[in-house]
Amino acid sequence: MADKKATRAAYGEAIVELAEKYPELVVLDADLAAATNSNKFAKAYPDRFYDCGIAEANMTSIAAGMSTVGLKPFTNTFAIFAAGRAWEQVRNSIAYPHLNVKVVGSHGGPSVGEDGATHQMNEDIALMRALPGMTVVVPCDAHEMRLAVEALLNYNGPAYLRMCRYATETVTAEIPGYKFELGKGVTLKDGSDVTIIATGITVPFSYEAAKILENEGISARVIDMHTVKPLDEELVLKAAQETGAILTVEEASTIGGLGSAVCELLCEKCPTPVVRHGVPDEFGRSGTAAQMLELYGLTPEGIAAKAKEALKLKK
């Protein structure tokens, strides 16, 4: 395994690395540049960086205005503010006219840790997914994040990019034939008994969980669903048909996110037992990132246990 690295760190490097190739890229932040990692871009390209101060609503609509002139703005703040506080600006200023703005929500999910419930954004995937025409991307590791950023620079439309504070292992770099394409999930490991469909930092945990299951004689398929919307329906349906049981995993609320998206698809097109694993219907609390993930069972062991629950539902 490679060294641990947070997706936000990979993002910060990616926008600097891609700046010359994409001269229309401009980066906005709301006084959190050090935390979101947009500060590296600010230092390298000060004339392409706009700090909007602690005013996320304004930043979001400013980015919309800038995009109408042909720029490719990326807005940066914590997920709680990007998708929460400024949700209606994302809806009406960006998504409704389908503008080319990338809304980057850093510090998603309970792995924010010590800052506690006010800053642990668990509802962002649901909130963003509900918007018509919105693409929702949750890269699982540093390698995937770099590819996601470039894919989003080449995508002309609104998107939400969720990233994490917590450093996790990179798995996608070592997957043979791995290719990043918006809207296309990646099968990281094949399996026949159950499928684990995960997004974000729970993907490396799920990959580990599959190894635990394998030692117990359970063959688990692992899908990295980096794009929650539009969902890769074909891949989900194939997994449902071939393995007969699904576990969804996300570092976010089980209401409205990846789990819901998978259930919505399967109940209409291929009814299949599904267990949704993530943050239950409650607010978080302070704790270290590792403690918070442990609390919700968002660990290889916790995921393996949930996969067995999904397996039990199989007829």
């Binding site: 909007c52 101060g53 205005g65 800038m66 009406n92």
Partner: protein, 281 residues
């Protein structure tokens, strides 16, 4: 254009506003009638625009931040030639493109989708900022409502425009003194607006928003200002031009019935006749 020619255009647009709202049986006539004179001067005299080339990258931009006054924007765009005037009769209709609030995707000439108050001025700041960023010389204009500025986002935008010294941005506040629940002074007092905007480092000009010479002069002055955005605080009459709608809070978001419409048309036509325009009906 002379001020008299502009006044004629503004009253033609007033007629289109009334035609649209009457046909739709809903909409916002009061605030549309208070800001349409400023829109007329912008679209017929000031802005570098071409209805035949509405996406020219060097065109001046206009954002109606008080988006509920879409009838004023649509009427002005139709009168200026962006789309047929007859389309106004399909305002708010499921059969056509003129939705209840300005829609930049479907309506030629609309630069930013507005309707959720406070967002338009931020969008205009983004356009002006992007112009500076890309070295373009186009100017960006916006019209806000005096009720709208109760939205905190407006003040975020005001701070940002001053921070980036957006002298290519010129906004208006349409001070007609009324909002849905009553007078702005009662609902949420915002005065002294001039001192507040000056404290936010804007160049401030106060005018009568129905005086074409004053609107033109203010726009001319705004172009000479360096290093600061300009706010034109215009005193207006809500419902201006229709006798029974003037200064009546009830006409914020209500359409005239057939009888009321007839009176309104009569008011507008009488004014156009005074200006020497032949009108029928």
């Amino acid at each position: 254009m002379t001020s008299k020619e502009l006044e004629i255009k503004a009253y033609e647009s007033r007629r289109l506003i009334l035609d649209g709202v009457h046909a739709a049986k809903c909409g916002h006539p009061g605030g549309s009638l208070s800001c349409v004179d400023a829109l007329t001067v912008l679209y017929f005299d000031e802005m570098n625009i071409d209805p035949a080339d509405p996406k020219n990258p060097d065109r001046d931009r206009f954002v109606l931040s008080k988006g509920h006054c879409a009838p004023a924007l649509y009427a002005t765009l139709a009168n200026r030639g962006y789309f047929p005037k007859e389309d106004m009769l399909l305002l708010r209709s499921i059969k056509a493109h003129l939705s209840g609030h300005p829609d930049m995707v479907y309506v030629p000439g609309v630069e930013f989708s507005t309707g959720s108050l406070g967002q338009g001025i931020s969008g205009a700041v983004g356009m002006a900022l992007a112009a500076k960023h890309t070295g373009k010389t186009f100017r960006t204009y916006a019209v806000l409502g005096d009720g709208e500025i109760e939205e905190g986002q407006c003040w975020e935008a005001f701070m940002a425009a001053a921070k980036w010294k957006l002298d290519n941005l010129c906004a208006f506040i349409d001070v007609n003194g009324l909002q849905i629940d009553g007078s702005t002074a009662d609902v949420m007092p915002s005065e002294p607006l001039d001192r507040k905007l000056e404290a936010f480092n804007w160049h401030v000009i106060k005018i009568n928003g129905h005086d074409y010479d004053e609107i033109k002069a203010a726009l001319k002055e705004a172009k000479t200002v360096k290093g600061q955005p300009t706010m034109i605080i215009m005193s207006t009459t809500k419902g201006k031009g229709v006798s029974y709608m003037e200064n009546a809070v009830g006409w914020h978001g209500k359409a005239p019935n057939d009888d009321e419409y007839a009176v309104a048309v009569n008011d507008i036509n009488a004014h156009l006749k005074e200006l020497g325009v032949e009108v029928d009906g």
